[in-house]
Amino acid sequence: MTTKHKAIALISGGLDSLLAVRVMQEQGIEVEGINFYTGFCVEGHTHAIRNHDKDKQKRNNALWAAEQLGIKLHIVDVIEEYKDVLLNPKHGYGTNMNPCLDCKIFMVGKAVQWITENRKDGFDFIITGEVIGQRPMSQRKQTMPIVAKESGAEDILVRPLCAKNLPATKPELEGWIDREKMYDFNGRTRKPQMALAAKYGFTDYPMPAGGCCFLTDKNYSDKLVDLWDARGTREYEMDDIMLLKVGRHIRPKPEFKLIIARDAGESKYLEGYRKQFVTIQVVSHNGPLTMVDGDIKPEDFELAAGVVARYGQGRDSEKVEVHISVPGEDVRIMSIKPLSVEQVNEDWHV
């Protein structure tokens, strides 16, 4: 009787990790999934804050992938640990603030740690959905051995979708898995993955254009750098990185930024921050809830309210009534004239 081997697979919720696991399951490997939540992960619910995304199916793609595969999924909060990856990437950033190579090393390293800490569960090796040439920074022929070495995984890291292009790993050499039944995918094309998905009957899988991380997005990265510059420190909290995903960000002065909801969905989301932050709302007309991030002085309330009024239905009125709520103080009522398009300086837009 042969021994059944067991692997832990990094599940992002994307197609590649889904396929990589199924390839291993076909070889009789028992798989459990692990998903790391950095706070920067792109997933359906974050988008669903906005009205126009309400019709999209609300699902966590990693959970969906695990359901398709019939595997357990461990979701791990790595928000705090991930700060060091983002702030001090040994291998640097990609086009934006994406430390992709360090991120991959970190996640595979966390999987190694998981195997060690859960030795009773008997995991033999690690699976990822990496494909040589798929990502310009982290998934290149030269970086594959770097990930294996620096994560500590060494020869127990198996990439079933491109294994034939890589040196044989321990599971192959030991005969736990058959190298010939794995793949040699290479490059940015998605056609081989789509063909394999069709073969396995996977449909409705997510294919986000920028990958699964907000840090690859230029607009998001610009807002993050603006936040750090304004504060004079690169420290951040969970609320900071969530709020960068919400609203229109306008910085009329270096000391404070306005986060203006773009629709009712975002207004509702910002409502949750009313007790912590100064908020501004036009009450004489329909308009978005706005949150003030930073240090706003009372003499700047009129400027801030003028900007906010620009984005409400009273934008062409002579006067609008605005409520400014400072936590712990009575609501201030102001009557102000909305700023014109020209008065909202282009440079203020983050």
Binding site: E43, R59, N60
Partner: protein, 57 residues
């Protein structure tokens, strides 16, 4: 048997799932856990996670 309440208000998924997952590890058989969420996605995600994990024990 004990009853517990987990406050996951204002958290966006997957945080309510992660908090639920971590709390469930501390529970004994028969304990009851209520999770209070504001992200409507939790209504699908927590049962999905439960389907993957809890019924397999």
């Amino acid at each position: 048997m004990s009853e517990y309440e987990l406050d996951a208000r204002r958290m966006l998924c997957p945080m309510p799932v992660i908090k639920t997952q971590n709390k469930v590890k501390e529970l004994a058989v028969g304990d009851i856990l209520s999770v209070i969420c504001t992200d409507p996605g939790a209504l699908s995600d927590i049962p999905a996670w439960q389907g993957l994990m809890v019924t397999r024990f």
